[in-house]
């Protein structure tokens, strides 16, 4: 699982970035990259990068579940926007611009939060541990990323067909259908 050496093929061209990137400013950022035989998770800090690699042969499952993050952000931003709006209304003259200007930015943030779609959490599971994919926090880019990753893993391991599962485990009760996480990409 060695990285391509410099001079033969640039390491940067050996990886393809997956959709989704999380930036936490001073705390660093997270990104995911598809390699030839492994998934690379990069945690970028101000002066260093940390890498975690997941061999496609070892990935057992990918899990995606909805979270309430979007609703929480909307509630907080909405509350702040409301306060600033009320302050702007209560103020008179040029003083009203003091709360109004940040209020506009808060409203923009609220709109962006809503337009980005449902929030989610993703995990990749191997035989020894389960890792949170921190850069996949919105359902739309997460689905795209997982679809690309699924292609690579299935190209390595093959598909796990449901017919085979039925033959092996058949008889267990089917779970209830849950509410959808959001529209499929391209829908």
């Amino acid at each position: 699982m060695a990285e391509p050496s410099v001079g033969t093929r640039s390491p940067q061209r050996a990886y393809r970035r997956l959709p989704g990137r999380l930036w936490l400013t001073l705390a660093g950022g997270h990104s995911l990259w598809l390699g030839q035989d492994h998934l690379l998770s990069v945690h970028s800090l101000p002066f260093s990068e940390e890498y975690r690699r997941f061999d496609y042969r070892e990935i057992q499952a990918l899990l995606l579940r909805p979270t309430r993050r979007r609703a929480v952000y909307a509630a907080v931003l909405g509350g702040v926007a409301l306060l600033l709006g009320l302050s702007a209304l209560a103020a008179s003259g040029p003083v009203a611009f003091v709360p109004a200007v940040p209020g506009v930015f808060v409203l923009l943030a609220l709109a962006v939060n809503w337009l980005r779609g449902p929030s989610c959490a993703c995990q990749v599971r191997t035989s020894v541990h389960t890792e949170d994919l921190r850069c996949l926090r919105r359902a739309r880019p997460a689905r795209k990323a997982l679809a690309l990753l699924r292609e690579r893993v299935e190209a390595t391991q093959g598909r796990l067909a449901r017919e085979g599962l039925r033959e092996r485990f058949g008889g267990e009760a089917a779970p209830a259908v849950a509410r959808d996480l959001g529209p499929e990409p391209g829908a």
Binding site: A2, S5, P46, F47, R57, A61, L63, A178, L181
Partner: protein, 191 residues
């Protein structure tokens, strides 16, 4: 039974096989929270057979450095210490002990993927910019910024994450400007 193979990420209860690759989210039978599962054949593969190491039977038999009661199976290619099969960490054709693997020793150390990397271009740029708040410190930090910017000129291309040399360039330019300023100040003071 699929119990224990794939736990729910919310509550830890086992997810039934009918939730795997279902094409959409399914409700966990325990917490009822939706979860979408994409499962692969590796999930059904059993754990690898462990090798506990052979017990030492004869007093004159070579023993493991870390387990004196177990027979040595081979020598570490990083340090030469004898290892039992439990201590042997094989990476392809190479066999190392845990200490050598952690220290990055061994024949193939140069090609082994690194767990991380220091971003010296970021360090150089920070040394060039942040000390401007205390300008007199730049007498020491400016040469360091220029040195690091030049010394690690090619580091950006070795990162798997695309990275340009912009930080190196800025560090060298800003550091050089600071050095030029100090040179001018010293010249003025001396003449």
């Amino acid at each position: 039974m699929t119990g224990g193979l794939l736990p729910c990420p919310s509550c830890g209860a086992a997810l039934p096989w009918t939730a795997w690759n279902a094409g959409g989210a399914s409700a966990c039978p325990s917490c009822r929270r939706p979860v979408e599962v994409i499962a692969f054949p590796a999930l059904l593969r059993g754990p690898e057979e462990s090798r506990p190491g052979e017990i030492l039977l004869a007093a004159d038999q070579a023993s493991c450095f870390f387990h004196p009661g177990k027979a040595a199976a081979l020598a570490c290619e990083g340090c030469g210490r004898f290892l039992c099969s439990l201590c042997d960490l094989s990476l392809g054709d190479e066999h190392l002990c845990a200490a050598c693997l952690e220290a990055g020793r061994g024949v193939a150390a140069g090609t082994r993927p690194a767990p991380g990397r220091t971003l010296w271009d970021g360090v150089a740029l920070s040394l060039a910019v942040f000390p401007l708040a205390l300008w007199f410190v730049t007498f020491a930090t400016a040469p360091a910024a220029v040195y690091l910017g030049i010394r690690h000129w090619n580091d950006a291309r070795r990162s798997p994450v695309p990275r340009t040399r912009l930080r190196n360039v800025l560090a060298i330019l800003i550091g050089s400007a600071q050095l030029a300023g100090w040179a001018a100040a010293l010249y003025t003071w001396l003449t």
